[in-house]
Structure formats: C-alpha cells, structure tokens
Amino acid sequence: MKRKDYNTLVQSKAPASKLLLNFCKAFLVGGLICTLGQILFEIYGKLGADEDNAKLITSISLILISAVLTALSLYDKIAKFGGAGTLVPITGFANAVVSPALDNKPEGKILGTGVQMFSIAGPVIVYGVLAANLYGLIYYILKVLKVM
C-alpha cells in the first residue's frame, strides 16, 4: 500500500469530532466567561474605578479565578466540556501558564516550575510580541508616508 493511499484510508476511518455540538458548547462556555468579565467590569465601575482601570482589574480577576480553578484541578474539567470556549479568553492563557508550573513542581523551583512555566504559553508570547512589533513598524511607515 502506498503512503498516500494509506493516509487517505486512515483519515476515512478516524472518527471525526462532533463539530456542531463542540461549536455550541464553546459558544456557551466562552460566552459565560465573557459575561462574567462584563459583570466584574460593571461592578468595578460602580465601585469607582475609571474605564481603563476597571478593564485592567477585570482581566486580573479573570486570571486569578482561572489560576485558582487550575490549581483545584477544576479548569481542565470545564475545558473538557467547553473546548475552545475556555481556551480563547484570557482564562485559557492563565491556565496554560499555571498548569505546567504545577505539573513540574517535583523537578524543583528553578529547573521545574521556572523553566517549564512557559512551555505552552511561550510560543504565544514570542509570536505575539513579534506580530506587535511588525504591526508597529507598518503603522510607523504609513505614518511617515502620511498615508494615515
């Protein structure tokens, strides 16, 4: 059997993900997380924070909640149901940093927690910073050329 034929066979036999159901679950869970964020934002606003500060504290609160839920082994259970709904919001990023930090604790504080903490989130940071720089450069050039 040729390589191409075999891979076609494998793909035809592999069970597919239930896309529609997964979309709905992700929409529901992701939406709930965002709603929670909005509620927190409103509360902080009512407590006297201006808009910029309220946004900042909301993000920090969501990160804290996600980190605590990860440490209690609850976040992965929510993620099992919610899929991308728990991955995309800022809570997913917090989970990606806290989970390897916890998992590698037995290896020590520096070589375990310290080294491994960004093993999942690392690429996101690298390409995030790179994309931001590129965006800034293009923005600057356009400004110099008086296009914008």
């Binding site: 059997m1 075999y6 494998v10 992965d76």
Partner: protein, 224 residues
C-alpha cells in the same frame, strides 16, 4: 538452542512463563480485565511525591508479586529486562535499584514488554541464565507530562487519541526443558518487527502509525 526460520526466532525448548504479576491503577481496575490483576491501587500516587516515583513503585510491585508467587527471592533471578516510557527508563531503573540483579534497560515504547520477553527468552535458551524477569510499566500521569500536556491544562483529546495505562506487568521465565510446563504459557517463536513508516505524522493516532508493520510481517492481513 534457537534457530532462525525465515525472519523468526524459533526456540527449541520454548521457555515458559513460570509466574507473573500485574498491578494497575484505579481506572484500569474498573475495566473488563479487573479480575485478572493481582493488585489494584485506588490511590494512583501510590503514596509518592512525583508520578515518576509512583510508576517506579508499580513496576516494583508487579515484579515482587511474580517473585512471591514462585516463592523466590531476588537472588534466584539471573537477569532483569525492563523498560518504561520515561527518559532514561528511569521508572524501571529505580524500581530495581538495590536488588542486586543484573539489569538491562530497554526502550520500545508500546513494544517494550514484547522486547523484554524476547530478550529474556533468548538468554534462557542460550543457557546463560536459569531464570529471567521481563517487565514493563507505565503511568498515565507521568506519560502525559513526558509526551503530551500538563494534567491541569485544558486541552481537548482528539477522538483517535490513546490513553496511557497506569499499570505494570512482570513475567518470570524459565527453560522449557527439565521443568513441568503443564498449564504454562510458553514462548515458542518470536520475531522482531522492522521499521515501517507509511508517513503517519499525527501524534494523536498511534494505532495508525503502528499498524503497517503488523501487516508487513504478516501478523495481520491487509484487506483488499
């Protein structure tokens, strides 16, 4: 002695598996083979700090169960063939640290047990050992860390993804000659596979990556 028949090793005296031991974690203990296991650990940490230590303890337990069934001590074993999924086969190395038996670490991933049994049988058949131990073990939690994602990370499992067993098995082999082999499983022939790569690169579908070699060596038939 053993002879080579085609690509297969055929054992003249067919070494027998005298005794064996198997112990597993909670999930496996709830499965269809539950009653076949000698010991089920409800606490999958086995009272250890790191998952790698728990895995080590599983392997040690399986081996000691097999020894106890034969009423032997470590001094009765001539060589240990063991392996696991971790770097440097660290779980099995620590499991047998201090037992004072010659040890050979093997790495075959899914095939480690077969690899251990073939090596153990070879040593007995050539007369260099009277009694050998073949063993392997794995732990879901240590494998997740070694190969996949942290346990608390909220990733999704692909429908074809495998679940690494939390468990260990050990078999003690003796020569098929001059022993009562009645009701014992015997190793009559063995064959090593050959690397067969049909280009499956999906780490979540290991079954598809491993199947081609079984067809190549004639273990399973290719469907036309």
């Amino acid at each position: 002695m053993a002879i080579l028949l085609g690509r297969s090793i055929v054992y003249e005296n067919a070494p027998m598996i005298s005794f064996w031991g198997a112990c597993v974690g909670k999930k496996e203990g709830e499965g269809p083979f539950a009653e076949k296991f000698d010991k089920v650990f409800e606490d999958t940490t086995l009272g250890k700090q790191a998952w790698e230590e728990s895995e080590s303890e599983l392997i040690k337990n399986a081996a000691e169960i097999a020894l106890a069934k034969g009423k032997w001590t470590w001094a009765d074993i001539d060589c240990i063939f063991a392996g696991d999924l971790l770097s440097q086969c660290i779980a099995s190395s620590y499991a047998f640290a201090g037992v004072g038996v010659n040890y050979c670490g093997l790495y075959g991933a899914c095939s480690t047990m077969a690899l251990a049994l073939i090596n153990a049988a070879n040593l007995i058949e050539c007369g260099a050992a009277a009694r050998t131990l073949a063993t392997t073990g794995s732990h879901f939690c240590s494998s997740e860390r070694q190969f996949r994602f942290p346990l608390e990370y909220g990733n999704q499992r692909a429908p074809t993804a495998q679940w690494t067993v939390t468990g260990a098995g050990a078999a003690i082999l003796e020569s098929g000659k001059n022993h009562n082999c009645k009701d014992k499983v015997r190793i009559r022939a063995a064959r090593f596979g050959e690397i067969t790569d049909l280009g499956v690169t999906d780490a979540n579908n290991m079954g598809a990556a491993m199947a081609p070699v079984s067809v190549r060596i004639g273990y399973i038939k290719e469907r036309k």
